[in-house]
Every structure is written in structure tokens, then in C-alpha cells.
């Protein structure tokens, strides 16, 4: 008899059966474990991120919206600023659902280790929380939800962003023979698109706008919810980056020069769509930013995503034009920032009282 460690727990296991469980676990093409197959862990990073995500649990209603409601009804807020909020709610109400669906109906379908299923179910659960937070914002401000949606109707630059991810996700909702290189690559591409291109890059245009308002003390409740959402997104990006890296380690044949270049070009497409969207829909000047810097920011984070996946950057030597935003989104900063408080999710209203000095 031996034992397996999961976070703070040590669980006794049979050595020979533990070996069998480990042998069955693979990202793709493993064998499902019957019964309790978490211990021993083959992918400790997955359980570690899961524990971290669970400790970060938050509920929208924990965040007070009184100030936001007062501001929304007052003259101190311009129509352009209201537009940014509506845009954010409208965009993410579609995007969170699309990501959650992809986690449940694509990623969880294919990965074959209990700790991977566990953490991607958590990922989907967090998308549900984010979607619910948008319902909370809409209902607190008394917005007409159809107005948020209507903003998007007929806006081509939004439609193109949506098609980019949805077409990929839909094409993978079927039985796929995961022994074929092309199918492994198709899933790897999906993981790259959702983690690095969408959650990792394309979310950041609107995040930047809303957090710019937050920085000016506008809509503190909404800003706070988006900060929690960003903290979750940081975990999702890291999670999907790890998953991609495990797939490549277990299936080195997929990682050809052609495929790497294809992923780079996929990111280039994502950047193009995001820049078009920013130019078309985001009144960046209204929050004191300029479009060149904003585009530069997208180039900067996209390069970071590529490098983190072992891919060559598209621009190279980029500098972050918005260091203040980096502080809000940097994963390590976020974790340290919330450390020690996050497990007290029931008391997390206390987290509402964060001032700019902390950032």
C-alpha cells in the first residue's frame, strides 16, 4: 500500500492499482477510469488550478451595485460611457455561453483523466457564474436586455468575432477518432483558439474599456465583477495552455512546423478581428485612451500568449502601453492580491472595498 497526495489530503491507495490508473490516464485516447480515479494524479497542475479556482469562488450578489445604479441614473455619466457598459454586457452574454458550451460539449467530451474533467467542469461552472453576473448587472441597472443585444445586430465586426469561435466549436461536436493526427490537431487548435485567442486576447478589448471606467471610479460594482471574471479568465488561459502543452508532450507528432505556423496565423486572424472590432465599436478616446495604444496592447498580449505556448511572437519586442491594466490582469498579482481572503467566499462582500491604491 502507498498513498496519493491531493492538495492537503493524503489518500491510501494500492500500489499496483495506482499504476494501472496512471497508465489509463491520457489527455486524448486514454481509458475512462471507473469509480474514484482522481488518486493518484497524473496531471497535478490540473488539480492545483482546480483548488485555486474553487478557492476563488464568488457570487455576483456579493458585490454591491448601489453606487453603479446611482451613477447610471445621474448626469456624471455620459451616454458613451453607458454604451461601453451595454456593449460589455451584450458581448460577454454571448461569449460566456459560447465558452461554457465548448468546455462541456467539446473539451470534457475528449479529455480522459478525472482531474482534467474536474477542472474543465469547474471552468464551465465559472462561465455560468459570469453569465449570471451579467443578468445581475442588467437587472440592477434596469437595462433593457434586448437593447444590449440589439447593439450587436448587424454589426459585422462582432459577427466575425463570434463566427471565428463558434464555427470551430460546432465542427468538433461529433465522434472523432482521436488516434488520427489531424483530429488531435483539430482539438489542439480548438484549445488554442478558446484559451489563447478568445479568452486570452479577444476578451481584452472590452475588459480594457470597462476597467478604464473602473479606474476612474465609474461603475465600481461592475468593474469589481469584471475583475473577478478576469481573475477566473487568467486561470482558464493557464489551464488551456497547460492542456495544449500536455497534448503536445503526449503526441509530439502533431507539433510540426506547419501546425505551429497555422496556430500563429490563427492568432493573427484573432488579432485582426479584435482590432477591427475596437476600431468599429469601442470609443477608446472617451476613456482617455488612443486607438494606436489600444491596438498595441492587443499585439502585446497576443505575443505573450504565443510565447507562453512555445510559438514565435507575431510582432516581437512589444511593450505594454497600459501598465496599469497589466497590474489588474496579471495572474500572479491577482493570486497574491486575493490570497488569504478568497476562501471566505461567504464574506466576499469585503472584497468590494478595494481602492485604486491596491492596484
Amino acid at each position: 500500500m502507498t498513498s496519493a497526495t491531493l492538495d492537503k489530503y493524503t489518500i491510501p491507495v494500492d500500489a499496483d492499482k495506482a499504476e494501472q490508473i496512471l497508465a489509463k490516464k491520457k489527455v486524448l485516447g486514454g481509458q475512462p477510469t471507473k469509480g474514484f480515479g482522481l488518486a493518484p494524479l497524473k496531471y497535478p497542475w490540473a488539480y492545483e488550478i482546480y483548488s485555486n479556482m474553487r478557492a476563488n469562488h464568488w457570487e455576483p450578489e456579493d458585490i454591491p451595485m448601489q453606487k453603479d445604479v446611482e451613477q447610471w441614473r445621474s448626469d456624471e455619466i455620459s451616454d458613451v460611457e453607458r454604451w461601453i457598459i451595454k456593449m460589455g454586457i451584450g458581448y460577454f452574454s454571448a461569449a460566456e455561453g459560447i465558452v461554457g458550451d465548448n468546455m462541456i460539449h467539446v473539451i470534457c467530451e475528449f479529455v480522459c483523466a478525472p482531474e482534467l474533467e474536474l477542472v474543465f467542469r469547474r471552468h464551465a461552472h465559472e462561465e455560468n457564474i459570469h453569465a449570471d453576473s451579467l443578468v445581475y448587472m442588467v437587472s440592477s441597472l434596469g437595462l433593457n436586455p434586448h437593447e444590449c443585444e440589439a447593439i450587436f445586430e448587424g454589426v459585422q465586426t462582432v459577427q466575425e468575432k463570434t463566427d471565428f469561435v463558434v464555427a470551430n466549436s460546432r465542427s468538433l461536436r461529433r465522434d472523432m477518432d482521436m488516434s488520427l493526427t489531424e483530429n488531435k490537431q483539430a482539438l489542439a487548435r480548438n484549445i488554442f483558439i478558446f484559451g489563447q485567442c478568445m479568452e486570452g486576447t479577444q476578451f481584452y478589448g472590452l475588459f480594457g474599456m470597462i476597467l478604464s471606467l473602473y479606474r476612474q471610479n465609474k461603475f465600481p460594482g461592475i468593474g469589481q465583477m469584471f475583475r473577478y471574471t478576469l481573475r477566473d479568465e487568467s486561470n482558464h488561459i493557464e489551464l488551456l495552455r497547460n492542456l495544449l502543452s500536455e497534448i503536445v508532450a503526449e503526441n509530439p507528432e502533431i507539433w510540426t512546423d506547419d501546425f505551429k505556423e497555422e496556430l500563429r496565423q490563427t492568432m493573427a486572424e484573432a488579432i485582426k478581428l479584435e482590432k477591427n472590432f475596437i476600431r468599429d465599436c469601442l470609443p477608446v478616446a472617451a476613456v482617455g485612451l488612443n486607438i494606436e495604444d489600444f491596438h498595441g496592447y492587443i499585439d502585446y498580449i497576443a505575443d505573450r500568449r504565443l510565447i507562453s505556448c512555445g510559438l514565435d511572437p507575431l510582432v516581437g519586442n512589444t511593450k505594454n502601453p497600459f501598465p496599469w491594466l497589466a497590474e489588474m490582469i496579471d495572474i500572479k498579482k491577482e493570486q497574491n492580491f486575493f490570497e488569504g481572503r478568497v476562501t471566505e467566499y461567504q464574506k466576499s462582500t469585503a472584497l468590494g472595498n478595494i481602492d485604486d491604491d491596491d492596484l
Binding site: 494500492d14 474514484f36 482522481l38 461554457g100 437587472s139 443585444e149 467566499y345
Partner: protein
């Protein structure tokens, strides 16, 4: 300004564009509704679903927060047969995904179209994780080898349950054409089998044994954990009862007497299988009379049937173990929706 309609959600009110609201409302259906990418929970059509989601959220719990210190101190001092029963329960519980066919729940989520239904179904990913967290907490705290538990739960009575559900479920996937009566019935059949017959009755003799031990102040932490787990199951029972009723009201063609008989027959099979499990377990060591426990399972299954508007089969006048009703949230299960209907109901069909 366009014609607006004011609706209330909880304490808040807001205005919807009447024309768009009517369109969105009309397009909402359990099956074959508008498959919008946008998260248009509003206007709410299935008030009960959003209310249930809120209740589930408000009942958020973390297994690791339930103290099992007493259990740790007691476990090795319990009679061997009680220890075995406990380990068998953990082994069976670890097979939840297979026994209760979690996969089928995800397929149904993919097929339903209204956003508030997707939202409440979305909770299930979290509840599946809660099951894993429970196992980590109990195995890790009590130092019980999960592989030993798996062996104990490898008895024919459990395998029979797994084979039963696998053999009766209809094949469904993302591309299933849900406009035909046969396929709509397939969705209803899978919902009923997975939730009412499997999750709602199977292994309850094991959970009852744990509650019986806890009532004697043996392993009380575990009793609390399972009480909360059954709370999660109770929300799902409520979700699927109501989903089935909505499906029947939107698709009356599925609710034929043959189909009702078929579903009722599955519940009778489920009761028989659970009684076979009782016969294979030392429930007397947990302080339960096997025969009375069998009657309890019948009583429980009648409650499940009645919630789905299906005829009761056993007609017991009262629960043989009223104390167990409390642990199993039986008294509260079907009132959950009623209690939550304080949500605004002013957005009736009549308004549109």
C-alpha cells in the same frame, strides 16, 4: 419610444421592448426553440428554472467545510460490518457517473434551447465536482483506501443497476432530430430514467444506512455530507420533474398511455433492483429493518412517480421512517418550486 412592457425579477423591475420580448418569449421552448447564442434569460419563460438556479446557488456548500473529526475518531472503533457498509457506500458513490449516467444529463443540456434552462443545467458541472470533492474529503480524512471500496462495491446488485440504465437509455446526441415524437419521447425517457429512476431511488438504502448511523451519533459528519448531497439531488429531481411537465405541455403528443406505462414500468424495475441491493447489504447492522427499508423505497418511488404525474404503484399510507424523510429532503422536495414562485409571475402568456 417603443411600446414597452415592465417585468419584475425578484425585487427589481425593468422594461422590455414589447415586440422583441414577445418574439423572444414565443421562441422559447424546452425543445426546438430558438438556439440563441445570446444569454437572453429575459423575458423569463421558465420562472421556476431561474428560481431553482438561485436556490441552488444559495445552497452552495464545500464538502471540506463539513467537519468529520468525530468520524475520524470513531471509524476504527465501529464494528467491522459497519465499516464494510460504509466503505461499500463510498465505493458505490464513487460510481455515480456510471450509475446515474451523468453523460446523459449533458446530452439533454445540449438539446434544450431556452437560456434559463441551460443556466440551471449548468449547475450540474459543479455538482459533479462536489461529488469528487466529497470523495477526496472522506477518503483523505478517514484514511480509507478507495480501491478497497471499489472492490466492495463490485457486487452484482450494482452492476445490474448500471446494465439496466445502459440498456434502457435511448441513443441521443447533439444532432438528434427532436421534432419527431419518437425522439421527443427518447429525451423524456432518458430524463426519467436517469433522474427519477436512478438518481432518485438507487442506492438510497446505502444513504439510509449512513443516516441511520448518524442518527445514533455514529459518523455524524458523513451524515451531514450526504444530507447536503441529497439536497443537490433534490434540486435536480425538481428540475427534471418540471422539465418533463413543460415538455409534456409543449408536446402533448408524447404523453400517450403506452409511454406512461413504459415509464412507470421502469420505476417498478428500479424498486426491484434496489430491493436486491438491500438483500445484499448488512443494513441491520446500521439499525435498519430490511423489510421496512424495502417499503421505504416503494414509498419513495411513489413520490417520484407522483411528481411526474404518473400513477403511484405501492400506495403506502405513510412513510415507514419519517425521520429519514427529513434527511432525504423528501418533505421539501416537491414544494421547492412552490416556495420559489414568489418570483414575479406577471409575465403570463395573457400579457403577450
Amino acid at each position: 419610444m417603443a411600446d414597452t412592457i415592465t417585468i419584475t425579477l425578484g425585487e427589481r423591475t425593468f422594461d422590455l421592448d414589447r415586440e422583441k420580448a414577445e418574439e423572444a418569449y414565443a421562441a422559447k421552448k424546452v425543445l426546438n426553440g430558438r438556439n440563441s447564442m445570446f444569454f437572453n434569460i429575459l423575458p423569463l419563460k421558465y420562472n421556476w428554472a431561474y428560481a431553482l438556479y438561485k436556490e441552488m446557488k444559495n445552497s452552495h456548500w464545500e464538502p471540506a467545510e463539513v467537519s468529520v473529526n468525530t468520524d475520524i475518531a470513531q471509524f476504527s472503533k465501529l464494528p467491522e460490518s459497519c465499516q464494510q457498509l460504509y466503505k461499500t457506500a463510498l465505493g458505490a458513490f464513487a460510481r455515480s457517473q456510471e450509475l446515474f449516467h451523468s453523460h446523459g444529463i449533458y446530452t439533454v443540456r445540449d438539446l434544450v434551447t431556452a437560456p434559463e434552462l441551460k443556466l440551471v443545467f449548468g449547475r450540474f458541472v459543479h455538482e459533479e465536482n462536489t461529488r469528487s470533492d466529497v470523495l477526496v474529503h472522506l477518503h483523505g480524512s478517514l484514511q480509507i483506501n478507495p480501491m478497497e471500496c471499489a472492490s466492495l462495491a463490485s457486487i452484482p446488485a450494482f452492476t445490474a443497476k448500471e446494465q439496466f440504465v445502459a440498456s434502457k437509455l435511448s441513443p441521443l446526441d447533439h444532432d438528434t432530430d427532436t421534432t419527431t415524437t419518437a425522439n421527443k419521447q427518447a429525451v423524456a425517457r432518458n430524463i426519467f430514467l436517469i433522474n427519477q429512476c436512478m438518481e432518485g431511488t438507487q442506492c438510497f438504502s446505502l444513504w439510509a444506512s449512513l443516516f441511520s448511523l448518524a442518527a445514533q451519533n455514529k459518523l455524524p459528519g458523513t451524515g451531514k455530507v450526504f444530507n447536503k448531497l441529497i439536497g443537490d439531488i433534490t434540486f435536480r429531481l425538481s428540475l427534471f420533474d418540471q422539465l418533463l411537465q413543460e415538455m409534456v405541455s409543449e408536446n402533448p403528443d408524447i404523453w400517450t398511455s403506452e409511454f406512461k406505462d413504459e415509464l412507470t414500468g421502469y420505476m417498478v424495475d428500479a424498486v426491484r433492483m434496489e430491493k436486491e441491493l438491500i438483500a445484499a447489504l448488512p443494513v441491520t447492522d446500521a439499525g435498519l429493518d430490511p423489510e421496512a427499508l424495502g417499503i421505504y423505497i416503494e414509498y419513495l418511488s411513489d413520490e417520484r412517480l407522483a411528481a411526474c404525474n404518473l400513477p403511484r404503484q405501492y400506495h403506502h399510507a405513510s412513510s415507514p421512517f419519517p425521520w429519514l424523510d427529513v434527511q432525504l429532503h423528501l418533505a421539501s422536495s416537491h414544494s421547492a418550486a412552490v416556495a420559489s414562485s414568489t418570483l414575479d409571475n406577471s409575465f403570463h402568456d395573457d400579457d403577450l
